[in-house]
Symmetry: C2
Subunit: 392 residues, 2 copies
């Protein structure tokens, strides 16, 4: 049995932000903590567009900026403190995945009396969260519809995720024109992140629903095509709109519905350690590892890799599925390269020592407490091998 | 701007029904009107599986059967009366689109003090509805996630729809094995209905989101393939699972997200008059009209028909999009034929007189008060021409 539960009310299109106060009122918000990342949203007037609507309908609010890539626990704690003090009843994230994930963590914390980090270490499970809304300015993480948030604890550089339906946003306003000014590198990283959310789900060891496979392949083709277009012309409305909607669909659960397993996620978990330790961009960290992961595991089911290559890249099948799988991996890496994304750690700008690689693997296994992956179960030695192969 | 709002919590897989009482409790149900169609759900033990769960957790309930294809207003009124008398707070539909649409109408009526038919004539708009849950036994209408319900008023044979987010079910339990016993004709009609929900959305006169086009084409291919498989082997779990999930995705809004228009819907509206007057199966009524509609309108944008044929049937494009469009129409009709569905009214078993065709067209235009369609706007003469061409 799988669940598809996406209660987020999505508005997609130019001027989606004009619906902000209507959506807030529908959700019963009266006292909102508006959390954002970059000051760009202040400078470009987006925040004023939002706060004017709130002023007009008597919703009070407090602004809190500063969310950064790999959002920090310390800021989450600060947000919870402010939220308590101001007695807020709603979290509005204005930004990309960092602002949204950070707001989600605040929403958990404000609903609870204990330490919010407990939900990320797995020590406790959340039992609720303050309602959340999103004004999206970056097509990438899909956090605008997802049940997940990922937070980095500066103390130890630990990046950990927490998943629950409580943090699925009530609404998400998706105006593609807000992403026109996203710089090329972030556009590339976002495109890679969207692709990886679908790829992680595509690879699992159980049986898939054929319809879900078909939708995944259609989505991947579209993301690659539109990612390249957006790099070429940042103000290509259609490209930005396709990417934005794909970001939501890649991570809202659609691409795993009917599958026996929720996906592999080893690359994500290995990347979390990378960006926890080195603060690299998530999307770039993922593509830097994927090829090495794929070469390590493809023999488990080379047929599935071959099918992906045929569907996404139109590769001709041969009588040798192992060879077809390798062709798929190479084609995917060429695609990452075309998107200006790294395909190994060196290209990512990292040259970890043996000792550092050992630390990464230790942390990825929660210090020996877990294995990674589903397509192939990875123990510490597998993880060491993959990080090592990824050096480039 | 388009909205994608699908709050329905879907459980897909064998034994999805085991989640029934959990879902009802989560939705706050305490006193449930269980509405069903065929007595088959009693005889095969499904109802007992459900009521036992409710007994075990102290949820009280009343059973009301009798929903039939093209569900009747009289039964809706009866359900509202019983619901008032018993003071129910939740509607649980057990069945296919007829039971769900009928339950949705009861849910509107029980929330309101006036005449429920007003919502279907458009005289008033619903302002709420009792919450609804679904145990699905037929992959077809997609009503399990949709915002629509269609009711037939026996007085005048008027079949009318009402759309609002209030009637989107809180949950839908989708167990593909419950559709093993669906007879071949209903399996065919269901497959056709699913296809048409996507086709109606694919054809509109505005700009489309390319990702939505790609997902639509992937879905159509999957539905055709799995419809044929389910006909060949009614107990093919995968085929039934793909069809069931496709039924929800075809009608929950996904296949129109980001498109400038919500779709054409002329075939649906013309079919509503057919089944209102002759009580034919909805899916069969749709395929009996589609080809004649398509030949009447394709010149508006033959490129779009050609693109559909290339994507769904792998048809090679030529330099002549009109010719490609005609090839697409023929391929779609061949596909309907392979699914044992009619491609004209004669094959549907109808031989309407000129007078009857005039009445159909009159009713389709709400007696001169509306035009149909979006891909091409159809007036009464167009509608007459299409019905006439559809005679076969």
């Amino acid at each position: 049995m799988t669940e598809y539960y996406t209660p987020t009310d999505v508005i997609l299109g130019k001027d989606a932000v004009s619906k902000c106060s209507e959506m807030l009122k529908k959700a019963g918000a009266g006292n909102v903590l508006i959390h954002y990342g970059s000051e760009r949203v202040i400078k470009n007037g987006l925040m004023e567009t939002i706060t004017k609507q709130l002023d007009d309908c008597g919703i009070i609010y407090t602004l809190l900026g500063g969310a950064q890539p790999n959002p920090r626990l310390s800021l989450v704690r600060k947000g919870i403190e402010i939220g308590r003090e101001k007695n807020v009843d709603f979290l509005l994230a204005v930004g990309g995945g960092s602002a949204i994930d950070s707001a989600k963590a605040m929403a958990y914390g404000l609903y609870d009396n204990g330490d919010v980090w407990d939900f990320y270490t797995g020590a406790r499970k959340p039992e609720g969260a303050l309602p959340i809304g999103v004004v999206l300015t970056l097509a990438a993480t899909g956090s605008e519809m997802s049940d997940s948030s990922v937070i980095t604890n500066e103390d130890g550089g630990l990046k950990r995720g927490c998943n629950s339906n409580y943090c699925r946003p009530r609404f998400a306003l998706l105006d593609p024109t807000l992403t026109y000014t996203v710089p090329p590198y972030q556009t590339s990283c976002g495109t890679a992140d969207i692709m990886m959310h679908t790829l992680e789900r595509f690879f699992h060891s159980g049986k898939s629903l054929a319809l879900t496979d078909s939708l995944s392949i259609a989505l991947l083709k579209s993301v690659i095509e539109n990612g390249l277009k957006a790099l070429q012309n940042p103000e290509d409305y259609d490209a930005r709109a396709n990417l934005m909607w794909a970001s939501s669909l890649s991570h809202n659960g659609l691409m795993q519905t009917g599958n026996e397993q929720r996906g592999d996620w080893a690359c994500h978990q290995m990347e979390h350690e990378l960006s926890g330790m080195y603060d690299v961009a998530h999307g770039a960290g993922l593509t830097a590892i994927w090829g090495s992961w794929a070469r390590h595991v493809y023999m488990e089911d080379s047929e599935r890799f071959a099918m992906l290559g045929e569907g996404v890249f139109g590769l001709k099948r041969t009588s040798d599925p192992d060879r077809d799988a390798m062709q798929t991996i190479k084609a995917m890496e060429s695609c990452f390269t075309a998107l200006h994304m790294p395909i190994n750690l060196k290209e990512l700008g990292l040259e970890p020592t043996d000792e550092e690689i050992d630390t990464l693997a230790e942390k990825a296994t929660f210090f020996g407490k877990r294995t990674l992956g589903a397509f192939q179960i990875l123990d510490k030695q597998d993880i060491l091998d993959i990080y090592t192969a990824a050096r480039g």
